[in-house]
């Protein structure tokens, strides 16, 4: 089966007054229909930009985006409009992602109206169906965003995305602004929707326990570059890139009797402005050598397990 989404050597650069920000640099991956891919990394690693570039909220600088076997990198006009029907996004902040002056039904009905397929009572029915689908009580039909809690708002955002009948949804940290008990409700909703509608997700988050729970495969990003990608279980049991190792060991564990050995990496993330060639993690990496200052290549080190580290085999004794 051909993958639903293929991204090849995707780049997104922003020119700024201080230099060019390499927000997404040479990212390649593919995603099968009906699956979830988690994208993890720390703030500023370009994970949100990656999602927004793929669904054409921002133009890409270079590279290819192939959706359903078709090159959609430079679609415009009506084709872009059609593509937006297939690709949607759920945002991080349930406070700023909803127009405060639009009620629940205004927000969900807007894409329906724009599609031109629904009018009058049909519009209202479809709107109520979507509200029901995402679990918003129908008494909130006329409610405004500020009258709802974060979880409900996030459901409205999901409803708006579903109104386009998408096949692929970028979830940009959809639960990171929510409390634990509410977060679980929204995660369950997203998983149910995937089962029932066959949706494909790209799940962008910094929360590794969430990503482990929801995704089938994972991309680990560091400063715009993809450093490791493989199936979820594989990553959590056998991470090969030094950054992935540090990232995973840094999660505070709730297991008080088996504290894991932590790899604390020194220093902080450097800036992605005009980076030098080579591995961007090298400045913090305990294994860095001369060879790391040369450009790195994403290698299939184990079947289905891609790592961008020249010392990977050596470090992991493969």
């Amino acid at each position: 089966m051909a993958p639903l989404l293929e991204v090849k050597n995707l780049k997104k650069y922003f020119p700024t007054s201080r230099g060019v920000v390499h927000a997404v640099d040479d990212v390649t991956f593919s995603l099968d229909a009906g699956k979830t891919m988690g994208v993890v990394g720390e703030s500023g690693c370009g994970k949100s930009t990656l999602g927004r570039t793929i669904i054409h909220l921002q133009p890409s600088t270079d590279g290819k985006i192939i959706f359903d076997g078709r090159d959609v990198t430079d679609v415009k006009g009506n084709d872009l409009k059609k593509l937006r029907g297939d690709m949607q996004i759920v945002f991080q902040d349930p406070y700023s992602s909803l127009n405060p002056r639009m009620s629940v039904h205004d927000t969900i009905a807007e894409p329906l109206r724009l599609s031109g397929k629904y009018k009058g009572p049909e519009l209202e029915n479809e709107c109520r169906r979507l509200m029901d689908l995402v679990g918003i009580e129908s008494r909130l039909y006329n409610a405004y965003p500020h009258e709802m809690d974060g979880g409900r708002r996030q459901r409205v955002g999901i409803g708006r995305a579903l109104a386009m009948h998408p096949r692929f949804i970028v979830c940009d940290e959809p639960v990171s602004a929510l409390d634990v008990s509410i977060q679980a409700q929204v995660l369950n909703l997203l998983m149910d929707l995937q089962d029932n509608l066959g949706l494909t997700y790209m799940f962008v988050t910094h929360d590794l326990s969430v990503v482990k729970h929801i995704s089938h495969s994972i991309c680990v990003m560091y400063l715009g570059q993809l450093v490791e990608t493989c199936a979820t279980d594989e990553l959590f049991s056998n991470q090969l890139h030094p950054y992935s190792k540090a990232l995973l060991s840094a999660i505070p564990s709730t297991d008080i009797h088996h504290p894991q050995k932590r790899i604390v990496i020194k220093g902080e993330i450097t800036s992605p402005i005009d980076p030098k060639p080579g591995c961007r993690f090298a400045t913090r990496c305990p294994y860095a050598t001369e060879a790391c200052s040369r450009p790195q290549r994403l290698d299939e080190v184990l079947p289905g397990h891609f790592v961008s580290c020249c010392r990977c085999r050596e470090i992991n004794k493969l």
């Binding site: 894409p111 909130l140 039909y141």
Partner: protein, 293 residues
Amino acid sequence: MAETSVRKAKKIPRPGSAKYVWYKICRNPLALAGVIVICLLVILSILSPYIMKYDYAKIDMRSAYQGPSAEHWFGCDELGRDILARILYGARYTLSVGVLSVLISAGVGVALGAVAGYFGGAVDQVIMRFLDIMAAFPQLLLAIAVSAVLGTGFDKCIYALGISGIPRFARMMRANILTVRNQEFVEAAMSITCTKPRIIVRHVIPNAIAPLIVEISMSIAAAGLAASSLSFIGLGVTPPTPEWGAMLASARNYIRLYPHMIMFPGLFIMLSVLSFNLIGDAIRDALDPKLKD
């Protein structure tokens, strides 16, 4: 919180609509009083030539400086003109200077600010630097300069005040647009295939303009005051036109001996300023979805 939100009565208009604003004003006694005062002033001003016993310009030296009496409720000025008649007739000048000049400054200012804010870059630079130069002068000083160039008179006074108010509105609109433009719901609108004009009209402007509407209504009051100031220094409406500020200006010489001459026009200026401010407050509240019912 979430549980309270269903609008029960079907009669309540849709929030955000003009009807809803009116509905909210009607439920706010102070704002309603403001509306009534302004309406009364407008009506009386229009009717004043027909209902007043005295003509606003009729000089009667025998009753000069007369205090309030049954004959002349607010007394007479130094030329024996009936102050009540002058105030009511003058309302048409003072109020229309306020409203029209603010329409000019808000209309032009909002458009310039929206363009500068939404498109940014060079457009923004050119517009804002030009407005910065204008804004470097205090508004009243600018108005004085403009009217010194244009000359005196009712219409020129409106232009002077209108032009001098542009930078403030443009600046506010631009700042609001900049905050709204970067919010995620604008991106969301893009992703559900909203066109650019639709995004601007439906998502950006409604969220950027609310603070300005208040500012506009407040500015009407302020412009009325500024018009009075212009008249006061002899640059606005000239005698014998009974503009309130002009009336204050000519009465200031007699403030010790005949305080009624300055008191009544002052009272009406205060009353109309207060009314516009109350209405402005109510409109702001009505447009804020967080303060719904």
